[in-house]
Structure formats: structure tokens, C-alpha cells
């Protein structure tokens, strides 16, 4: 390694977990490029006005996880975990489809119509998901319950709620404004990417341009000390869980718009796991404290790149998990405390030797 020639603080960079995440993503993409040189090609389709290509596809398909993991980053920075996000994705889809079709006995064929005003189709799922997030936050902040257990409740019964809302049925719809959310395009880019960008910017502005991000980190490191220094830890927790609920709702709308249907069994399945992984790969410590939104985005992209990689090269779809596990294991081990300390010490030694 050309460590000596570089002027900036290499040991600091080596210790940064985000660096490892970026290196991992670059390596996976490099492997993709070596095996299939056309992996990076992007083409323009005039008929749909959209850009196509594996890279676009990766970003597009990672939208739901990226959006959810923005909220998850904040929850993990508080030292918690939200297990209910996957179930909330299912709830959002179920409510949206319920409003679009309402009563399948009267509206027997799915078509380009909505029974209730479109604004309700969008707003009600988001509000319900935000309220469910608030419920999680209430249990954590006011009840003093560990987040992982508090959110386990909604994770267990959320899908049940979604099923009962739609009487255990699967509705489909053909309402075109609803299709736009998941399959439309804007500025040549798929709509989910645009929504993701908006969400990322909004969360970044909210946490980095106001003091809220610092509050979250402070509560994550030491709740009592934050309370003593005048931060309302309870409100911070409530807001963070509500944001995560709301973002899960947005992801749920995108998901159900992609399939133009509600699938309470499989919508958002394992999303909580993927989102938590994205955050951890991105370098946010599960014990709470400092968080990195950039790292989370990279983490989410890594997960999706692995999946696309596996699809692209014709490996059995269900085996994705094994590959995911191997790559994540490597990233986690590289990021783990002892290994990073070892690398940092080595880098420091080399620098010392050069001097």
C-alpha cells in the first residue's frame, strides 16, 4: 500500500467504517465489471423516457431499503432497533389498496379507478404508519421498554392487522396515478429514485442543519446526561420512531405500486433485517451514538448490488442470502473493533517508520 506517500491522515481513514463500506461496494462492482463488462452501460429508452441499466436498476430497487434505513439510522443512533418496519410496509400497502378498491364485491374488476379520493390513498397509509411508529416511540420513551421488544409487538401483529384490513385477500389495481409512484419516471430517472433523493435530502437537512441530529447522538450515547443538559430525550425518541414509521409507509406505497397490489404476507419481508444491515455496514454503531447517513446509503447499495449480482449471473434467487451473508460477514469482521485497531496500529507503525 502506498500509505507513506499520502498526506492525509490514513490511520483515521482506515479507522472510519464508511471507508470500508465504500471499498466493499467498489470491489463488488469491480467483480461485476470483470465478469460482465457491459454491467455499467446505461441506455436511454425514448419510448418511456427512462434510463436503463444495471446501475440504475440497483439504485431503483434499493429505494425501499434506503428510505427505511434513513429512519433506521436514527433509531440505531439512539441505541435502539426497529423491527416493525417490514410489517408497516405491509400495512401501508394494505390500506392503500383498501382505499383504491374498497369493496371487491362491488368493484369486481381492477381498473383505472379509485373508490376513494387519491389524496386519501396516499395520506391515510402514511398517517397510520406514522401513528404506529409513534406507538413504538411511546412504548420506548414513556414506557421505558427496550426498543427491540417494543417494536417486536408490531412486528408480530402488524401483518395480522394488514391481513384483517383486507379480509386476508389480495387486491390488484390499475389506477394509473398510483402506478407512477413505483413505476413512473421523472427527469429520465425512475420515480423511486426521485422519492429516495427527496427523503435523503429531507432527513439530512433535518438532522444536520438543525440540532436534532446532535440531540439524537447525545441521547444515544447517554440518555440521562442528555436529559440533565436540557434535551427532552422522550420527545427525541418519539420523533425518531415516528419518522421511521412514516418512512416505512412511503416504502410500503412504493412497494405496492411496483406490484400494483397488496401482499400482506411478503411485502416488506425481512426489510427490517436488510435495513439494520444497511445501517451497520454503513458504519453506525449498534450501541448508539454517532451515525452516518452517507454510510447507510452505501450499505443499502451494497445489499442491493449483491442481490442484482446474483440475479444477473443466473444464480438461484433464494441463494442470494448465502452470498449476502458471506459478503456481510467480511464487512463486519473488517469493521469489528479488534480488526480495525490492528489495521490502525499497522498504518501508524508504517507512518512512524517512514518518518
Amino acid at each position: 500500500m502506498a500509505v507513506n506517500k499520502k498526506r492525509f491522515d490514513v490511520s483515521g481513514l482506515m479507522q472510519s467504517k464508511v471507508t470500508w463500506a465504500v471499498i466493499a461496494e467498489a470491489l463488488i462492482l469491480l467483480v461485476c465489471f470483470i465478469i460482465r463488462p457491459d454491467f455499467f452501460s446505461i441506455s436511454y429508452q425514448p419510448s418511456t423516457g427512462m434510463l436503463y441499466g444495471s446501475l440504475i436498476d440497483i439504485v431503483n430497487r434499493s429505494a425501499e431499503i434506503t428510505i427505511i434505513s434513513m429512519g433506521m439510522t436514527l433509531v440505531i443512533a439512539l441505541g435502539g432497533t426497529d423491527l416493525s418496519v417490514g410489517a408497516l410496509v405491509a400495512v401501508a400497502g394494505a390500506i392503500a389498496l383498501k382505499f383504491l378498491r374498497w369493496d371487491v364485491l362491488t368493484y369486481t374488476t381492477p381498473g383505472d379507478y379509485t373508490v376513494y379520493p387519491y389524496i386519501l390513498v396516499i395520506a391515510v397509509p402514511l398517517i397510520v404508519c406514522a401513528l404506529m411508529g409513534l406507538f413504538n416511540g411511546f412504548l420506548v420513551a414513556k414506557g421505558g421498554i427496550q426498543p427491540i421488544i417494543a417494536t417486536l409487538i408490531l412486528m408480530v401483529c402488524g401483518r395480522g392487522v394488514a391481513q384483517i384490513l383486507t379480509d386476508g385477500k389480495q387486491f390488484t389495481t390499475g389506477y394509473s396515478p398510483f402506478r407512477v409512484i413505483g413505476q413512473g419516471s421523472f427527469l429520465c430517472l425512475p420515480m423511486p429514485i426521485i422519492i429516495t433523493i427527496i427523503v435523503v435530502i429531507a432527513v439530512a437537512l433535518f438532522t444536520r442543519k438543525t440540532a436534532f441530529g446532535a440531540f439524537v447522538e447525545s441521547v444515544g450515547v447517554n440518555p440521562s446526561a442528555s436529559r440533565l443538559s436540557g434535551i427532552k430525550a422522550g420527545s427525541v425518541i418519539l420523533i425518531v420512531f415516528m419518522i421511521t414509521g412514516l418512512l416505512s409507509g412511503i416504502a410500503g406505497l412504493i412497494y405496492s405500486s411496483r406490484i400494483m397490489s397488496n401482499d400482506s404476507n411478503n411485502a416488506g419481508l425481512n426489510f427490517e433485517m436488510d435495513a439494520i444491515l444497511a445501517v451497520v455496514i454503513g458504519g453506525t454503531n449498534m450501541a448508539g451514538g454517532r451515525f452516518s447517513l452517507t454510510g447507510t446509503i452505501v450499505g443499502s447499495l451494497i445489499i442491493r448490488t449483491i442481490v442484482t449480482f446474483v440475479y444477473y449471473f443466473g444464480i438461484v434467487a433464494e441463494a442470494t442470502m448465502a452470498f449476502k451473508a458471506l459478503i456481510i460477514a467480511v464487512v463486519i469482521v473488517l469493521q469489528s473493533e479488534p480488526v480495525r485497531r490492528y489495521f490502525a496500529r499497522k498504518a501508524a507503525l508504517r507512518q512512524g517508520g517512514a518518518r
Binding site: 432497533t81 412504548l139 414506557g143 421505558g144 421498554i145 427496550q146 427491540i148 421488544i149 417494543a150 417486536l152 409487538i153 408490531l154 412486528m155 408480530v156 401483529c157 402488524g158 401483518r159 395480522g160 392487522v161 391481513q163 384483517i164 379480509d167 386476508g168 433485517m273 439494520i276 444491515l277 451497520v280 449498534m286 450501541a287 438461484v316 433464494e318 441463494a319 442470494t320 442470502m321 448465502a322 452470498f323 449476502k324 451473508a325 458471506l326 456481510i328 460477514a329 463486519i332 469482521v333 469489528s336 473493533e337 479488534p338 480488526v339
Partner: protein
């Protein structure tokens, strides 16, 4: 004098606030069971057969819950149990039906795999300081992925020895008219139920009567103090995850005996069912508190709800999930109350 103190200690031991959670679990189970008997007694809810079926239908969850309880007491978590159990089923199914191996060979291979993975995850958690949640999640992905690599279709298990083991049952008898007759409606105990009860006993013995068990509680209470006291924290944690791996494999064998097939997507979400069993059995996820008897009743409590819904016949099975969620909420609130009140007493 000595007898009196002994009596007092027994009484104080039984009324110790740390047992409140276990009593709550047993109490709520009895209430729900009695309510079921009141509502559906005429349909046979109170028969021995229904009660034994609670064990037969949930033995694999119970077996896994034994290991999970220990992991939770150390303050950790293991999300890989469902996938490892599923992989065990795949090993047995693929090994006997496709590779024509003896089931015992497959079981041995599964044991090596499960215990090995458990030990490895424990090692990563303790020595590399990676959160248990993430490590075991990776383990879950790995096991699930390998399941799918072996086969994407459900494979039937057909082997005379395996069939014999799955079909082995002991009918419950009663003594009437000078001879033993099978009780009606016919109820029996099979290998899974025995394995479940034996594992609960082994688990209780390890936790209450061995040094290893005491170390588990000490680590869950406060890992730093345990380490400062010179307890083998690392070794204990690694072994607990190894033991949990063993329980997952046994649960997988039990599930394979129950459904007589292996499927790569079987027991999906099983890990959360198992954790729910342990939590409604009074195990604290913060660590340090938990009893096998509580877990036993946690499994029964969780399984009595679907039984009630089946007896009702009109409800969507999804209400079961909602009811389980509500139970979880109730228990968490009780736990919270117990913890805060005992903390107040201490100060």
C-alpha cells in the same frame, strides 16, 4: 429451629419477586385455558388430547426456546435458530432421499454444522465484539442461503428408521375395571414431546445446578462485573451459543419428524416465535432473568391461542398473530412494572 428456617427459606424463596413473571405466565395460561374450557368445553377443549396436542404441535418451538432462553439470559439474542432448524431438515431430507445416506449420518452432520455455527457466532460476538443481533442475522442468512442452494423444492423424507421414530408413540392409559385401557379420545406422547420435556429438564438443571448456569446469570446481570470477578465470560458466551446451536438442530430434527419433509423456506420467522415464547415465559431481553419453567409455560401460552382459534372455527387465523402481539404487550408491561418496583425497593 433448622426445620423452621428451612420452611421460611422455602416460603421466601417461592415468594421472591424474581418469580413474579413465572407466576404471571402460569396464571395467564390457566386463565386462558379455563376461558377456552368455558367456551368450547362441549367441543372437547378440556380433554387430555387437546392438552397433549399443545405439546405435539409446538415441541420444536419449545426445544429451540430452551437454548434461546439461555442466550437471552446472557443478554444476547440468536436470530439464526429458524434457519438452522430448517437447514437440519434439508440435511436429513436431501441426505436420506437423494444421497441415500443413513438418517443418523445426516443428523450427525447437522449437529456438527449447528453446533459449529453456534460456536463460531459466539466467538465472533465475544472476541470480535460484533453485536449479537448482526452476527446471528448473518448466520441466519447463511443457513437460509445454504438451504436454498441444496434444494428449492420440498423433499419428502422416506426412511424406515426415520418413519419408525416419527411414528413412535406412547398412548396415555388409565386404570379402569382392573386393567389399563387407552383413554378416550385417544391421546399419545411422541418422541418430540419427550425430547421437549427432557430438554427443558436439562436446561433447568444447567441453569440452576451447575457453575456454568450461574455464570450465565452473572454475565446477564452485568458482564463487566462478571469479568472482573474472574468468571470465564468468553468461554461461557461461546458455549451458550454452541448449546443454542445444538437446540436449533434438535428442533430441526423434531420439525422434520413432525412434517416428514425438508423445505428451504420452512420455519421462516420461527426465530421470532421462539423469542416470543421465551419473553412471554418471563425471560428479560435485557438479560439476567429467566427460568425454564417459565419458558415451558410460555410455549404452552403461545400455543393455546391458535388452538382456541381453531376451536372457534370462524375467526381468521390472523387474529392469532394479533392476540400474540397483545400478549407480548401485556407481558412487557408486567415486566416493566416488576423491574421498576423491584428497583425502587432496592434503593
Amino acid at each position: 429451629m433448622t426445620a423452621k428456617t428451612n420452611k421460611q427459606t422455602l416460603f421466601t424463596r417461592l415468594t421472591n419477586p424474581k418469580y413474579i413473571m413465572v407466576y404471571a405466565t402460569i396464571g395467564i395460561f390457566l386463565v386462558i385455558y379455563a376461558a377456552g374450557g368455558f367456551l368450547y368445553g362441549d367441543k372437547g377443549f378440556l380433554t387430555v388430547r387437546t392438552f397433549v396436542n399443545l405439546f405435539i404441535d409446538n415441541a420444536y418451538f419449545g426445544i429451540s426456546a430452551v437454548g434461546m432462553t439461555m442466550v437471552l439470559i446472557t443478554g444476547g439474542i440468536d436470530l439464526s435458530v429458524g434457519a438452522v432448524a430448517s437447514l437440519t431438515g434439508m440435511f436429513i431430507a436431501y441426505g436420506t432421499s437423494v444421497l441415500h445416506l443413513h438418517p443418523m449420518t445426516c443428523i450427525a452432520a447437522a449437529l456438527v454444522m449447528g453446533v459449529g455455527l453456534g460456536l463460531l457466532m459466539g466467538w465472533v460476538i465475544h472476541y470480535l465484539n460484533v453485536p449479537a443481533f448482526i452476527t446471528t442475522l448473518t448466520g441466519m442468512f447463511l443457513a437460509r442461503g445454504v438451504c436454498s442452494l441444496i434444494s428449492r423444492e420440498s423433499i419428502d423424507i422416506k426412511h424406515p428408521m426415520f418413519d419408525a421414530l416419527a411414528g413412535w408413540k406412547v398412548y396415555l392409559m388409565k386404570y379402569s375395571g382392573g386393567e389399563w385401557v387407552k383413554i378416550k379420545p385417544i391421546a399419545f406422547v411422541n418422541f418430540n414431546v419427550l425430547l421437549f420435556l427432557i430438554m427443558i429438564l436439562i436446561g433447568a438443571f444447567i441453569l440452576q445446578r451447575t457453575r456454568f448456569g450461574r455464570n450465565i446469570y452473572a454475565i446477564g446481570g452485568n458482564e463487566q462485573s462478571a469479568s472482573l470477578m474472574g468468571l470465564p465470560v468468553g468461554r461461557t458466551k461461546v458455549l451458550v451459543y454452541g448449546f443454542n446451536g445444538l437446540c436449533s438442530v434438535l428442533a430441526g430434527i423434531s420439525y422434520a419428524l413432525y412434517v416428514k419433509s425438508g423445505w428451504n423456506l420452512s420455519l421462516q420467522g420461527g426465530e421470532l416465535e421462539v423469542i416470543t415464547c421465551a419473553v412471554i415465559g418471563g425471560t428479560l431481553l435485557t438479560g439476567g432473568v429467566g427460568y425454564m419453567i417459565g419458558t415451558l409455560f410460555g410455549v404452552l401460552l403461545k400455543s393455546v391461542i391458535p388452538a382456541l382459534i381453531t376451536f372457534n372455527g370462524n375467526l381468521l387465523s390472523w387474529w392469532g398473530k394479533i392476540a400474540t402481539g397483545m400478549l407480548l404487550l401485556l407481558f412487557i408491561c408486567i415486566q416493566r412494572f416488576v423491574v421498576t418496583s423491584s428497583a425502587r425497593k432496592r434503593t
